[in-house]
Symmetry: C2
Subunit: 352 residues, 2 copies
C-alpha cells in the first residue's frame, strides 16, 4: 500500500512525493526499504505495489528492481479496503489460493530476519483458509495516534507468540490509551496483515458484503481488462480494511511483532530515525545539505535543499529546507501541521 499522501511531512512531502518516498529509513526512501525487506520472502514477480497515478512514476524510479508491471494504479483514492481488494483481485487472478501479506509502504521495520520469521509464523496461522492474521506491537507509551488490539487466548506455543484478537479499538483518547497501556493486554495495530485469498473473501462476504461483491467483480473483471477492474473498484465502499473486515471478522489472530516497528508519523518521529548530536538535535540531511547548530538544542531538521541550515540560540524547533520551501514550527506543534497545509492550499497550492 503506497498510495498515501500524508501532509505531516510537508514541505518535504508533496502530492506527487508522499511520505513513502522520503528517505526516512536510515537515509533510504521508505518504499525502497519496504521492497528491499521482502528479498528472500516474496519474489519480485509476486510483489505488488498499489499506488495512484500521480505517484507511480516516482515510486517506480525508487524501486528500479521491481518490474514495471508490478505497480497497480488505483483508479481513485478510496481508503484501504478497496486498495486491499484491488491487490487481492490482482493476486487472485494469478493464484486464487495465494497467501497474501498486506503492508503499508511507509513504515520502518528492522531487523529483516525477525520480520521474515514473524511473517512466516503468520502465514502458518493463516494456512487454514479461515484465519485473518495481524501483527500487534507492544505499546511503549499511551499513544493516541494508533489503533489498539486487545489480546485474547494464546493460540499455541509457536514463536513469536500469537493470540486471538479479542477486540479492535480505534484511536483512543489519552485516558483510554493510558488504561490500555496499564492493562498490559493491548497491542498497537501495526496495519500489516496476512491471510489467504479464500480467507479474505470469506471474511468480506460476512463482514462487508458490498466490499466482498466489489472484490469478486474486480477478480472477474481481470479477464475483461483494466477498465472493467476500474469500474468494479469504483463500486467498492470507501472504508478502511480495519473497520470493514478486521474489527468484525470471526477468526482474527494477532502475532506479536518482535521486530522494531516505527510508522514515522511525522516530523516529531525524526528523533527515532536519525541519531542526535550531543545537544539533542536530530538532522536528516540529503547529499549537499548540512546542519550547523550553535547554542541550539533539541531541534529536528529535515534538509534536502542543498543548503546549510544554521540555528543560533533556538530550541525545540522543526526546520525543514527543500528546493522551493522552508518551514519552521515548534516541535510541540508539528502534529498540527495540517493547519499550515490548509493555509498553503489557499495561498500557494503549487507547493502541495
Amino acid at each position: 500500500m503506497a498510495g498515501g499522501s500524508g501532509t505531516r511531512f510537508w514541505p518535504a512531502s508533496r502530492s506527487a512525493r508522499p511520505k513513502q518516498m522520503l528517505p526516512l529509513a536510515a537515509g533510504v526512501p521508505l518504499i525502497t526499504a519496504t521492497i528491499d525487506r521482502l528479498a528472500g520472502l516474496v519474489a519480485p514477480e509476486r510483489t505488488w505495489v498499489v499506488t495512484n497515478a500521480a505517484q507511480v512514476d516516482g515510486l517506480r524510479a525508487l524501486v528500479p528492481a521491481l518490474p514495471r508491471a508490478q505497480f497497480v494504479v488505483e483508479p481513485e483514492p478510496r481508503d484501504t479496503a478497496p486498495c486491499i481488494a484491488l491487490a487481492a483481485a490482482t493476486i487472485a487472478a494469478r493464484e486464487p489460493r495465494a497467501t497474501m501479506v498486506a503492508m503499508p509502504a511507509d513504515h520502518v521495520i528492522t531487523p529483516v530476519a525477525t520480520f521474515h520469521a514473524a511473517v512466516r509464523r503468520a502465514a502458518t496461522l493463516a494456512a487454514d483458509d479461515r484465519t485473518l492474521v495481524t501483527f500487534g506491537v507492544q505499546p511503549t507509551r499511551p499513544a493516541t495516534g494508533f489503533g489498539y488490539i486487545e489480546c485474547g487466548a494464546r493460540l499455541d506455543d509457536g514463536a513469536p507468540a500469537a493470540c486471538r484478537a479479542a477486540r479492535f479499538r480505534e484511536k483512543p483518547d489519552a485516558d483510554t490509551a493510558a488504561a490500555f497501556l496499564a492493562a498490559g493486554t493491548f497491542l498497537w495495530n501495526s496495519g500489516i496483515f496476512v491471510w489467504t485469498i479464500p480467507a479474505l473473501l470469506a471474511a468480506m462476504r460476512t463482514t462487508a458484503p458490498e466490499l466482498g461483491a466489489a472484490t469478486e467483480r474486480m477478480i472477474a473483471g481481470g479477464a475483461a481488462g483494466p477498465d472493467a477492474v476500474a469500474a468494479a473498484f469504483r463500486t467498492a465502499p470507501r472504508t478502511s480494511i480495519d473497520f470493514a473486515v478486521m474489527e468484525r471478522a470471526e477468526r482474527v489472530a494477532v502475532v506479536r511483532a518482535d521486530f522494531g516497528w516505527n510508522d514515522v508519523g511525522g516530523f516529531t518521529a525524526l528523533d527515532t530515525v536519525v541519531d542526535g548530536d550531543g545537544d539533542g538535535n536530530h538532522a536528516l540531511l540529503a547529499a549537499g545539505s548540512a546542519f550547523l547548530p550553535c547554542q541550539s538544542t533539541r531541534n529536528l531538521v529535515f534538509a534536502e535543499g542543498g543548503r546549510t541550515v544554521c540555528l543560533f540560540g533556538v530550541d525545540d524547533l522543526v526546520v525543514v529546507d527543500t528546493d522551493d520551501a522552508v518551514m519552521v514550527c515548534p516541535r510541540a506543534r508539528a502534529d498540527e501541521l495540517k493547519q499550515l497545509v490548509e493555509h498553503v492550499r489557499s495561498r500557494h497550492p503549487e507547493l502541495l
Copy 2:
C-alpha cells in the same frame, strides 16, 4: 565609505557581498540608494566610492551609472581614518580646496531634499577652512550601539540648527545612554562628515600627526602612481576618524540631522525598513521569494533564495533564506550573531 564587511546580516551578507550591497533601502541596495541620493548634490565625476578588492566588482555592478574610475580600492582594511585619508588624497589631487562630504554607504536616509539642505548647511559652516562638521541625530531611545555628541553653544540662526560639539562620547553603557537621553543635549553621531580638504589636513596635523603625514604622503604619491599611494596608505595608523580627529579637533560643528536616519544595524532593524503584516511579521523578500506566516507573530524574515518561507506557530524569530544557507535565531539574540559567524568560520568558512 563602502568597505565594511558586517557580520550582522549573515548569511545574507558575505565577505564579497557586505551589508551595503543588501536591498535594505526599500528593496534597493544601500550603495545604490546612497549614490542615487547624491544626484543634484555632487556630480558623478566628483563622487568617490572607497572600498576593497573583494567588493569593488559587486559595488560597480550595483552602481552602473558611476564611472568605474570613481571606485577607489583600499590596499588593506585599516579602519575609517585611513579610508577617509585615502579619499581626501584622491580628492585633493584634483581639487586641493574642495569641500568633502564623507558618509557610510550603508545607511538609509530620507527624504533626499532634506538631506541635501542639511549637507549644504554643513558646507556653509565648513567654508571657513577650519571647521569640521558632523551631523547629529536626535536620539529616540537609549541606544548603546551608537556614539554620542554633546551639543554646546548654538552656532547661529541658520536651518537646520547647528551647534558646537562640546564632547564626543563613545558607545555608552545602558545607564549612561539613559542619562544622555534624559539630558536632552546629546545627539547620536551619524558618522557623516563635511569639511574642506585644508580644514581636514589642518585638524589631522594637530590631532593625529602620523595620520596627517600619511595623508600628505598619499597626496604626494598620487603623481607617482597607485603603488606609491598604497605604500603611503599602509603607513597610516589603524584607527577611526572619530577617535583620531573628531574627538580631538578644536572646531567641530554639529548640524542637527532633520532627515530620517537609519544605520540598519542588523536583522532587528528589518522592522524599520519593511512594512509589517497585521501580526507584526516583517519580511524583506527578493524577487521569487515568498513569505507565508500561519499563526505566527513578530517574526523578521529576509528571503532571497527564491523559496517560500513558511512559519507555523512561531513568534519573535529571525529567519533568513539565501541560496546556500538558512538561518534561524530568536529576534532577541540577533545582535549576538557574531557568535554564530565565528562558529561558521571554524566549520563552514566557505559560507562567509
